[in-house]
């Protein structure tokens, strides 16, 4: 038995997150809002579809946030709740949500850092509620796939890596 716990993400969670992020994008004029979990997995993307590889992006985002957590500790802060990476045209703003996931905002010069920050604050509060609910509803501990899943998955492994 695995010592790791899994968590599940339901259709209704996705809907709630989409509604919140859509409102955020409208009010902040940002291009894209994403949710990445702390282990490096993409959870949701709303707004303009990014042209980059989302899997790689999610993994690097989690690493970025974790590395900065360590830096924060070194200077005597428990964490940095948010990070800002400024580019010439494109910038990104990252904010912690309930210490579980990261909100990533991509924006350009159609808006300002000030406006994005202002709107992020409210959005983080709303999303925290959603994720708190998700992680406390009880089925977040062990998720089980239906019977037959493992057998079929093993067949796929054989195909991919050779029997």
């Amino acid at each position: 038995m695995s010592g790791a716990s899994s968590w599940s993400f339901r259709e209704e969670d996705s809907k709630r997150i989409h509604v919140i992020l859509m409102a955020f994008l409208r009010e902040s004029n940002a291009r894209t809002g994403m949710i990445v979990d702390r282990t490096g997995q993409m959870v949701a993307t709303v707004g303009e579809e990014p042209t980059f590889d989302p899997t790689a992006f999610a993994s690097l985002t989690a690493a970025d946030f974790s590395a900065n957590d360590q830096l924060a500790r070194m200077i005597g802060e428990p964490e940095f709740g948010s990070l800002f990476h400024q580019g010439e045209k494109e910038s990104m703003y990252l904010a912690d949500i309930a210490r579980r996931v990261i909100l990533v905002v991509l924006f350009d010069n159609r808006t300002t850092l000030g406006l994005v920050k202002l709107r992020v604050r409210q959005t983080v509060a709303e999303l925290s509620k959603v994720f708190d609910d998700m992680f406390t509803r009880g089925d977040a501990g062990q998720v089980r796939m239906e019977t037959g899943f493992v057998g079929e998955a093993e067949d796929e492994l054989d195909k991919l890596f050779g029997a």
């Binding site: 695995s2 282990t39 490096g40 997995q41 790689a56 993994s59 360590q70 089980r144 493992v150 998955a153």
Partner: protein, 226 residues
């Protein structure tokens, strides 16, 4: 911590290649990257120094395809081996679903192997994990070198077996990968379990897929109904 996303119908699992510096972890991922069909894998991302030593991690996503309606993907990570990068190693273990320990078979690297194994135990326990409860596979790499230790020596030093407390599991369980050997058996009145092990020459790809397949199966089993 595998994530099952019912909204996007995706399952993501995290596999970490651990072990001493220069043992061949990055080489494992490079081989997988080069041999798996391009439509079944993403980019290989390496956060490395100019001298190509892994600085933070290597990362490679591999798609298993759609199983029972779920797009199933493994995220392969390696950790940097150098002693002073422990902060990086700890971060990468966050949410791990399965571990491959890549040992360097060279007799001169025995001490480094043992140190890395101890470090894995320590870091996992700080995340609240116990290696004996996690899908875990050993890889003895660099079997091609003349100064390689014997498998018996490596097993004794790195995979001597941990006690099996659960009476239901105290029965002889053959090692499916090595005829005549057991994964669970009674030794001197004590039931012990060893991790499955594989010999490898990662440079040529020998043993790379066998190792990956074995740990992947263990992870998938842990997702399924017991």
């Amino acid at each position: 911590m595998s994530m099952i996303n019912y909204a996007s119908r995706e399952i993501n699992c995290k596999l970490v290649y651990y072990g001493p510096g220069l043992g061949g972890k990055t080489t494992n991922l490079e081989f997988v990257f080069n041999k798996v069909a391009p439509n079944a894998r993403g980019k290989l991302i390496s956060l490395a120094t100019e001298t190509e030593r892994t600085l933070f991690f290597d990362f490679l996503p591999v798609d298993l395809g759609t199983i029972r309606g779920f797009k199933t993907r493994f995220h392969l990570y390696t950790v940097p081996g150098q002693v002073y990068y422990n902060a990086s190693r700890k971060l990468i273990l966050k949410g791990v679903d399965g571990v491959v320990f890549v040992a360097d078979s060279q007799i001169e690297r025995m001490e480094a192997n043992i140190e890395a194994m101890q470090n894995l135990y320590d870091n996992l326990s700080q995340h609240g994990f116990n290696i004996t409860a996690l899908p875990f596979v050993m890889q003895y790499n660099k079997r091609d070198l003349p100064n390689a230790a014997t498998i018996q020596e490596l097993q004794a030093a790195l995979n001597p077996g941990w006690p099996v407390e659960d009476p239901a599991r105290q029965r002889v369980t053959p090692d499916p990968y090595h005829e005549g050997e057991n994964l669970i058996e009674e030794v001197g009145g004590q039931w012990i379990e060893r991790a499955p092990y594989f010999e490898a020459v990662a440079m040529n790809g020998d043993g790379v897929f066998d190792t990956l397949k074995a740990v992947s199966k263990l992870v998938l089993k842990s997702l399924g109904t017991a």
